[in-house]
């Protein structure tokens, strides 16, 4: 397996301003020295509770928020020092899926416009080729091409998330950061979307950074799992091992807190 992504000592600090002159009085270390590697076609699950820095880490890797320090190497290219033009080129390789399928789609664009946008931005193919690609992408995510001219409000949460996934796939990326992609979905729909993500990975060899607070979902989709706490990775191990034999006390606490249906422990 080849290494697709290498993150070295990544940091993202946010200034805290205070006093009369709004001077910077402190820094919040949202991501505080995180390092890991991700092989192509694999999934790294990132778990942690609110405020642990997992979403900021995802965004800092994609350079949606420029890191304060450290390096992000995608296919041999170091991203943190790239200028806007080179970065735009690299964005073809890396995409994001957001949590809230209601907020992440523009209500004024049709499904086709939404999915086409990355193709337009990067000037890929002729107009008719782009339309053909949109149709193909809709089929890949399990939607009928007839929905192309409809607007997001006409769809359920699960369908909207499929549209968001189709858009992320448009440029054939090698890496997708999925930030809580199923947290807003109902249980029965969640399984459909998780299976779709697994299928895409099998068929297209995409690597996923799968961010979630839900340990059971992360275990299901991931090859490796990283546990974040206060901006740091406190434990990282193959998914099987971390659940069978968690070593960090925080991981143990997280695991024991998950409400379980196999309980009926009472």
């Amino acid at each position: 397996m080849t290494v697709l992504l290498e993150v070295r000592n990544l940091q993202k600090h946010f200034p805290v301003r205070g006093g009369l002159l709004r001077r910077i009085v402190a820094h919040v270390r949202a991501v505080d020295g995180v390092s890991f590697t991700l092989e192509s076609g694999r999934t790294l699950g990132l778990v942690g509770e609110s405020g642990c820095g997992k979403s900021t880490l995802g965004r800092a890797i994609l350079q949606l928020q420029r890191p304060t320090g450290g390096e992000v190497v995608l296919e041999g290219t170091e991203l943190t020092t790239l200028g806007p033009r080179r970065l735009l080129e690299m964005r073809r390789e890396m995409q994001i899926i957001f949590q809230d399928p209601f907020a992440s789609l523009s209500p004024r664009r049709t499904v086709a416009q939404t999915i086409r946008e990355p193709l337009d931005v990067h000037g890929i193919g002729s107009a008719s080729e782009r339309d053909g690609k949109v149709e193909e992408l809709l089929q890949v995510v399990g939607m009928r091409p007839q929905v192309m001219d409809r607007y997001p409000h006409e769809f359920s949460g699960g369908q909207r998330q499929r549209i968001g996934i189709a858009r992320a796939l448009a440029l054939n990326p090698k890496l997708i950061v999925a930030d809580e992609p199923v947290s807003a979905l109902d249980v029965s729909v969640r399984a459909q979307v998780l299976n779709l993500i697994a299928k895409l990975q099998r068929e297209h060899g995409i690597a996923f950074l799968f961010i979630s607070h839900d340990l059971s979902v992360v275990e299901h989709v991931s090859d490796h799992v990283g546990v974040m706490y206060l901006g740091k990775l406190v434990e990282m191990a193959p998914a099987k091992e971390i659940y069978r034999d968690p070593r960090h006390p925080y991981t143990q606490a997280l695991l024991s807190a998950v409400p379980s249906t196999s309980a009926a422990r009472r």
Binding site: L215, V258, R266
Partner: protein, 329 residues
């Protein structure tokens, strides 16, 4: 369960008028809640669980909503059609509600103490000093550390978990007989959720309350409830004690839900079992079983008429399905 039920809901129908027509959010729902027991109302978005909970407190916004039929009896007294002034006396004192987002229940411009003392003075007739003491005691009961200091803080100074504990303390302040908790821990992190749920179970026993826990999370139900009611599209699909429900679910919807949840400690990177399709539009419901077109046990009869719950109210397990999974004998 034996004895008189505390709450008895019979054939409850709640309708909302929308621009597109009248939606029946709850359709002939019946259940009992006995003293000291926790009943889970579980289902996915739009199944009617929250509306059922709100009906019990007379909190259905009207218009557009209305209780179109049925009866809700609390300690033998009919609540449907009760005038607002009467309902106010019941709310808080006899039946309290806890919502998902604690800030909706807390006033941001008053300290925790002020809000609690107000309630305690009005409903329990305490003096200011007594009420402050009682408030501190309640805050300690719900697991807030250093309550004598916390009582003078404002809600924004507390974390989400602490806020929800304050809301629980307020709900307890009038010694209610029934608490309706609507997704009380959904907005909390998993470790905080575990603490708050554990506290709620302890308090429920200590205060001899009954509780209705409205949630989408079957794991939460399994760990906290005695019985659960699984709702789908405004109807009760299955109603059972926790043991039978999770060991031998009978309704194909319950079976599907349980199978589609990935379980911690069973790492398999295989496809999850899926319930195909989507929840039908409440405005265009089929005449037969509402789950039929997603169901693997579907037969012609399922499309003809709505199945009703089998058995009797005090059975351990009841299901509204013509072809349920039968428990092994």
């Amino acid at each position: 369960m034996s004895g008189e039920p505390l709450l008895s809901v019979r054939d409850l129908v709640v309708e909302f008028s929308t621009e597109r027509g009248v939606v029946r959010a709850v359709d002939r729902v019946s259940f009992d809640v006995h003293p000291n027991e926790t009943v889970g109302l579980v289902g996915e978005s739009g199944c009617g669980k929250t509306v059922t909970g709100l009906s019990i407190l007379g909190l259905i916004p009207s218009p557009p909503g209305r209780i179109a039929a049925g009866s809700i009896r609390f300690q033998g007294r009919e609540l449907v059609g009760l005038p607002e002034s009467e309902f106010r006396r019941i709310r808080g004192q006899d039946i309290a509600m806890i919502f998902q987002e604690p800030m909706t229940a807390l006033n941001p411009v008053f300290t925790v103490g002020n809000q609690m003392i107000d309630v305690l003075r009005r409903y329990r007739g305490l003096t200011r000093r007594q009420a402050r003491g009682a408030a501190i005691e309640l805050l300690a009961k719900v697991g807030i550390p250093a309550p004598e200091a916390r009582i003078d803080e404002y809600p924004h100074q507390l974390s989400g978990g602490m806020r929800q504990r304050v809301v629980i303390a307020m709900a307890l302040s009038c010694d209610p007989k029934l608490i309706v908790a609507d997704e009380p821990t959904t907005a909390l992190d998993v470790t905080t959720q575990a603490q708050v749920l554990e506290q709620m179970v302890i308090l429920q026993r200590e205060f001899h309350m009954a509780m209705i826990l409205v949630t989408h999370d079957l794991g939460v139900v399994a760990e906290t409830c005695h019985r659960a009611i699984v709702m789908y599209c405004g109807r009760i699909a299955e109603k059972a004690e926790i043991g039978p429900l999770f060991e031998h679910p009978r309704h194909p919807y319950t079976v599907g839900l349980l199978e589609s949840i990935p379980r911690v400690g069973e790492h398999e990177k295989e496809d999850l079992a899926v319930i195909p399709g989507m929840v039908p539009d409440l405005l265009h419901l089929p005449p037969g079983c509402r789950f039929a077109d997603r169901c693997r046990r579907r037969q012609p009869r399922c499309d003809e008429a709505l199945p009703e719950l089998d058995g009797r109210e005090d059975d351990r397990s009841r299901v509204a399905c013509y072809f349920p999974a039968e428990p092994p004998t």
